[in-house]
């Protein structure tokens, strides 16, 4: 990997030469101006340089003046300063041509810039190597890649001859070698070595150090990049490019700080094209395509030939369904640089971020068509091919990408993952291709297969669309593998993801027992697939997430998220995003819990829409998105309501729906844990309508074993906030109190009430199953155990119990499934499990399977009398049939 840059040597910024003679005085002033520039006091520095240049006409001062003007985005001023000096024929004015070329490049005046660089070279300027490398970079920008490669190659000879002596020369070599890295990835290491050498020669050249940071980031080393940018900002907190670099690092690391940083960067240099482009990208992440386009336009106003800005503008137009605008941007970009793979890579990346995975494949395909060394293009096409289910093709792309860019951790991780997935087994059902770890495939398929088919039928009926089969469902027992499948790295907090034709999710075993309702997660992800199908993959994030949570609730009683005290308090305190801007709650949360709250909040939006307009309206909204209508107009055209008016309606809806709970939470902070014995006592006595206090007291009394006393506050808490069904729900404690008192009927009633509203409550389901069995209700006990399997299906004893209950009530199919589950869990007594399975096969009329299975049991335990009897019975039946 790329090694770390050497730490900067000490930089002295103070004025060390005061008190010198007249020449010394002039140098001191120059040093002062330089110092001001280097600590980011650009305006003061500009003033100092201007005074200095008038007196001395020094070309160095002019160049530094131009640099400071550029730092605050005054490119015209920099241009003018340089030209004036050249025209005034200051001594050694030819030394300024290269700087002028750079200023012109920033404004997209490429022909003039080329001429300036050529004059620098022809004039033998001290920085002619910089000019030469800029000419080569300009060749890249015109799509003359072969010519550029030859030009860059020459720098290696320059370096090897020892002709690069100054920091600027060595930096020019570093840039050239960096460009050559695409032909040989090992050259990136040489580039870094050259950058290090240049920094050693001029530790105060922060622009150089920005390049190092950018190189680290380009090679996926956000840690090293952070170190580089922070080192600059410690000395110059106003270095706009370093701040931008840091913003990119934050974005890379998934931090929402990126937004503030890029704004800060633009506050210093409002004409920093890279910052405008990056800001546009952030807006696209927020699905705010209008703002993204606006930022891209501002960038293009500075530099109309900035292909990265054109790419962002094209992406914004494409995502906003403006095909004409998109085509115009594409043609402009290709007119400037007909081989600009990065343009299409950007489109691919942003298309994928907006769930347009097939389009991402197409865009990335364009990138590699234009430039066969566009490794990023192969990586993007590969990743998105995997997302669309083209596994073999995706793998080939990733392998190609990895040969050209072995630093790409995403590609490496994904290739490693594909090796793991290669060992998985594939199970086909009519509409699904389940890809399962062989260690648990036999178990998981028993539940996932029928659930998937049921979900497909249910959602197809609701949405009136039928996604193309088979839908590939990958189930990962290691969460890290799921995470890599989704984002290329470990550490994703999500449980599942839908790419449309491909769903990936955590296996039930990926999380501790009881923490994860895998059934609801699958249903949620499949709902996304339907939303993408219905909207042509154009559905906004908030819309599909909320609707998918609603679908969870529609799937089974008790599935899906429930209201929490924290959510209601956030609502009361105005901390929920308005519906008209709900994407912010997902994409740019103001506080950590906002994403979770936004899921539930958006699900309620659809409850309201379904209630007020019928589910047909939801379908119409999805169709409107498909047709390119933006969210505000979707509300206007389908619901015939202004988005802001809907915000009001939704607020009223919440106020009405949770009126009782909101009143009971008026004292609360959202922390419904027991707030201390004394505090509880005070609160309970002062107000009997305080939910937090009542629940806290009930829990405390329960913990102290004062069961009868606990009943009163727990019942009150339940009445105050009946919708609260979380792990510490009053119902749960009431159920436990009744159970401890031996009041099984009441305990069962509480737990039924709880689990039919919250089927994720694993301990409640366990308790209920046991209570119902004890009460002699095998059917209800079986019901509780059946629910439990969608939370954690790995407890072999529960499968045995469910099988027995099912047998007791004549539920033969369930018994058969459960006997298979027992066998899948590799019981110690395998012959017995096989025998019981054989018996279950017999009972559902599958005598062939019964015979094969009982033979397998007897193969392991030939004297197993029950199994021998069953074999005899099956033989007798077969004999009778033959007769």
């Amino acid at each position: 990997m790329i090694r770390r840059a050497r730490p900067l040597t000490g930089v002295v910024l103070g004025l060390a030469v005061s008190g010198c003679g007249s020449r010394g005085h002039a140098q001191a002033t120059l040093a002062q101006a330089d110092s001001l520039a280097r600590v980011g006091e650009y305006r003061a520095a500009i003033e100092a340089y201007r005074g200095l240049s008038r007196r001395e006409s020094s070309w160095q001062a002019t160049r530094m003046l131009a640099s400071s003007l550029q730092a605050i985005g005054d490119y015209a001023g920099a241009d003018q300063a340089l030209r004036s000096a050249i025209e005034d024929s200051v001594p050694d004015a030819h030394q300024l041509w290269s700087a002028l070329g750079e200023v012109l490049t920033r404004q997209g005046r490429n022909a003039e810039a080329r001429e300036a660089f050529e004059r620098a070279v022809a004039g033998g300027a001290a920085d002619r190597l910089s000019a030469e490398v800029n000419l080569a970079i300009a060749s890249v920008g015109r799509g003359e890649l072969d010519a550029a490669t030859r030009q860059f190659d020459a720098f290696i000879d320059v370096y090897n001859r020892g002709a690069a002596r100054t920091a600027a020369d060595v930096a020019a070599v570093a840039r050239a070698v960096r460009y050559l890295g695409r032909t040989d990835p090992q050259l990136y290491k040489d580039a870094l070595r050259a950058y290090d050498e240049a920094v050693a020669l001029d530790p105060l050249d922060f622009d150089l150090q920005v390049e190092i940071g950018n190189l680290f980031l380009e090679k996926y080393r956000s840690d090293e990049a952070t170190t580089s940018f922070n080192a600059i900002l410690e000395r110059n907190p106003n270095h706009a490019d370093a701040i931008l670099g840091l913003a990119r690092v934050k974005h890379f690391d998934g931090s929402s700080e990126a937004f503030a940083l890029v704004q800060r960067s633009l506050g210093i240099n409002p004409n920093l094209v890279g910052a405008r482009v990056f800001l546009a990208r952030l807006y696209i992440d927020l699905e705010d395509f209008a703002s993204a386009a606006s930022e891209a336009e501002r960038a293009l106003a500075v530099n109309p030939r900035a292909v990265d800005a054109l790419a962002m503008w094209a992406a914004a137009r494409y995502l906003a369904h403006d095909s004409a605008g998109f085509a115009q941007a594409r043609d402009s970009a290709l007119g400037i640089d007909p081989r600009n793979a990065a343009f299409f890579n950007t489109l691919a990346e942003l298309a994928a971020r907006n769930r347009l995975y097939q389009r991402a494949v197409d865009f990335a395909g364009e990138a590699v068509r234009l430039d066969s060394l566009a490794w990023r293009g192969y990586a993007l096409r590969g990743l998105n091919r995997l997302r669309t289910g083209a596994i073999a093709e995706g793998r080939r792309d990733l392998e190609t990408a990895f040969t050209g860019d072995p630093y790409d951790l995403w590609t490496k991780n994904t290739l490693d993952l594909l090796d793991v997935v290669g060992q998985y087994v594939e199970v086909r059902s009519p509409r699904f291709q389940l890809v399962l770890d062989p260690k648990e495939a036999e178990l998981v398929r028993l539940y996932l297969e029928p659930l998937a088919e049921e979900a497909y039928d249910s959602l197809a009926a609701r949405y009136g669309v039928r996604p193309l089969a088979p839908i590939r469902v990958e189930v990962y027992p290691r969460h890290a593998d799921f995470s890599v499948r989704t984002i290329g790295l470990a550490g994703l907090g999500a449980l599942g993801v839908s790419f449309g034709p491909v769903i990936a999710m955590d296996a039930p075993s990926a999380r501790p027992p009881g923490e994860f309702h895998w059934g609801a997660t699958f249903w949620h992800e499949l709902a996304h697939t339907f939303h993408m199908t219905a909207s042509g993959h154009r559905v906004p994030r908030w819309f599909t997430e909320g609707l998918a949570v609603l679908e969870e609730r529609r799937a089974r009683p008790g599935w899906g998220d429930d209201v929490t005290p924290g959510f209601l308090i956030a609502f009361r305190e105005g901390q929920l995003a308005p519906v008209s801007n709900l994407n912010q709650g997902f994409m740019r949360p103001a506080y950590p819990e906002q994403v979770i709250y936004s899921y539930y909040q958006s699900s309620l939006v659809f409850e309201l829409i379904e209630q007020e307009y019928g589910f047909g309206a939801v379908r119409q909204m999805l169709a409107a998105y498909r047709d390119g209508v933006e969210t505000p107009d979707v509300f206007r055209t389908v619901l015939r309501v202004e988005p802001t008016a809907f915000d009001q309606t939704f607020t009223s809806f919440l106020e009405t729906r949770f009126a009782s709970a909101l009143a009971a939470l008026r004292h609360g902070t959202g922390d419904h844990a027991a707030p201390g014995r004394e505090g509880i006592g005070r609160r309970v006595s002062s107000d009997t309508t305080d939910f937090v206090a009542q629940l806290g007291l009930g829990r405390t009394l329960f913990a102290e074993g004062r069961l009868e006393e606990a009943l009163v506050p727990l019942r009150r808490a339940k009445a105050l906030f009946p919708e609260y069904l979380g792990s510490n729900s009053p119902r749960w404690f009431l159920g436990q109190v009744y159970l401890a008192q031996g009041q099984l009927d009441q305990a069962a009633a509480e737990l039924i009430d709880l689990t039919t509203r919250n089927a994720k409550h694993y301990p409640a389901l366990q308790a209920l199953a046991e209570i119902e069995a004890e009460r002699g209700n095998p059917e209800r006990a079986a019901g509780a155990l059946e629910s439990l399997m969608f939370v954690y299906p790995y407890d072999i004893a529960r499968h045995r119990t469910l099988a027995d209950h099912a047998r007791a009530v004549g539920a033969r199919t369930i018994e058969l499934r459960e006997r298979r589950a027992v066998l899948a869990l590799d019981p110690v007594d395998r012959p017995q499990a096989l025998y019981q399975l054989a018996r279950a096969y017999r009972d559902v009329g599958d005598r062939g399977a019964a015979r094969r299975t009982v033979l397998e049991a007897l193969e392991q335990a030939p004297n197993y009398q029950d199994a021998l009897d069953l074999l005899l019975e099956l033989q007798a039946t077969r004999g009778r049939r033959t007769e």
């Binding site: 027992p513 015979r851 193969e859 335990a861 030939p862 004297n863 197993y864 029950d866 074999l871």
Partner: protein, 328 residues
């Protein structure tokens, strides 16, 4: 139960070699806390009940040395001190038949400080080396030592030898947490779930395998790393196996050992029954031979032949049962 004891050996467990006499010595050491004292005593009683009631070990062949005699004056013969252990084993060595089976179950907390594996007892602890010396008094008998204590793994090198099956709850003295293995080992005999070949006898190998796997299952369900690894050594090589294989490592002796007696078989006064048993034995041998040839046979042919043999076995067993039950 009677019928169970009459069931002939399955091919996977040659119980024909079972000795006719079993002695059981249970030592429950210091519990330290009430919950452990209760637990250890409970395990001991469960095992005694299983041995005497389920597997027919005569009560006089069972000796239970507990932490405190006052806890259960009927069942606990004496305090579990080194002295009483010495006395019990010395006495047993004198009265045990040459081919008898002596099973010693150690329950409690273990330790291995200073490289000396031991189990904590009231008074001085019992070390592995001391126990090894005591067991030398049984030169011809089959010896089973099941040390269910934590940190018990190092008992294997000390006790390993011919005609000995040594089980430890952990693989070394470093696995010091309270071992879960003991509970499942006792369950294996008391509950019968470990009888995986369904010959209605739980062999020592079955009990070990059952307990080992149940321990692993509990850790897996909790999502935690397995913190104890039980071992079995019965080939005398001083090295225990976590997953014994009678054909290659350990288990060959343990699968022939059961907790209790096996009845002698059919009455010699009923030649017809004897013939049936002989027929049964022949069928079992044929099934075993067929299984050995499985890899060389076509799958369908194998299945058909196996089915035919099993049907023959089923019919024979039924005839035996009917005759023994007096059904015409």
């Amino acid at each position: 139960m009677i019928r169970a004891m009459l069931v002939a050996a399955a091919i996977t467990m040659p119980l024909a070699t079972l000795p006719a006499q079993t002695h059981l010595v249970i030592v429950a050491g210091l519990g330290g806390e009430a919950r452990y004292r209760d637990m250890f005593h409970g395990w001991a009683l469960e095992l005694i009940d299983a041995a005497t009631e389920r597997y027919g070990v005569p009560a006089e062949n069972v000796t239970y040395l507990g932490e405190s005699v006052t806890r259960d004056t009927v069942r606990i013969a004496a305090r579990a001190t080194v002295e009483n252990i010495e006395r019990t084993l010395t006495d047993l060595a004198m009265r045990a038949a040459p081919k008898a089976q002596v099973m010693m179950v150690l329950i409690g907390h273990g330790s291995a400080r200073d490289g000396e594996p031991k189990i904590n007892l009231p008074g001085p602890d019992l070390t592995a080396a001391h126990l090894a010396r005591l067991l030398d008094a049984f030169p011809t008998q089959t010896i089973v030592v099941a040390n269910l204590a934590s940190a018990s793994g190092d008992f294997i090198p000390a006790l390993s030898g011919p005609r000995r099956a040594i089980i430890t709850a952990t693989k070394s003295g470093r696995e010091r947490n309270q071992a879960r293995f003991g509970k499942f080992f006792v369950d294996a005999f008391a509950g019968g779930q470990a009888d995986v070949d369904h010959d209605e006898i739980v062999s020592l190998l079955e009990a070990f395998t059952y307990a080992r796997r149940e321990v692993a299952r509990t850790y897996s369900q909790e999502g935690t790393l397995l913190a104890e690894h039980a071992l079995l050594d019965d080939n005398g090589d001083k090295t225990g196996s976590y997953e014994p294989d009678p054909t290659t490592t350990d288990g060959a002796l343990a699968r022939t050992i059961a907790l209790g007696y096996r009845e002698a078989g059919p009455s010699a006064r009923d030649p017809e029954l004897m013939a049936l048993y002989e027929k049964k034995r022949v069928i079992e041998q044929a099934i075993a031979a067929l299984q050995r040839d499985k890899g060389r046979l076509d799958a369908t042919a194998y299945e058909q032949q196996l089915e035919a043999m099993l049907l023959d076995l089923a019919a024979t067993n039924k005839t035996i049962r009917d005759r023994e039950d007096g059904t015409p």
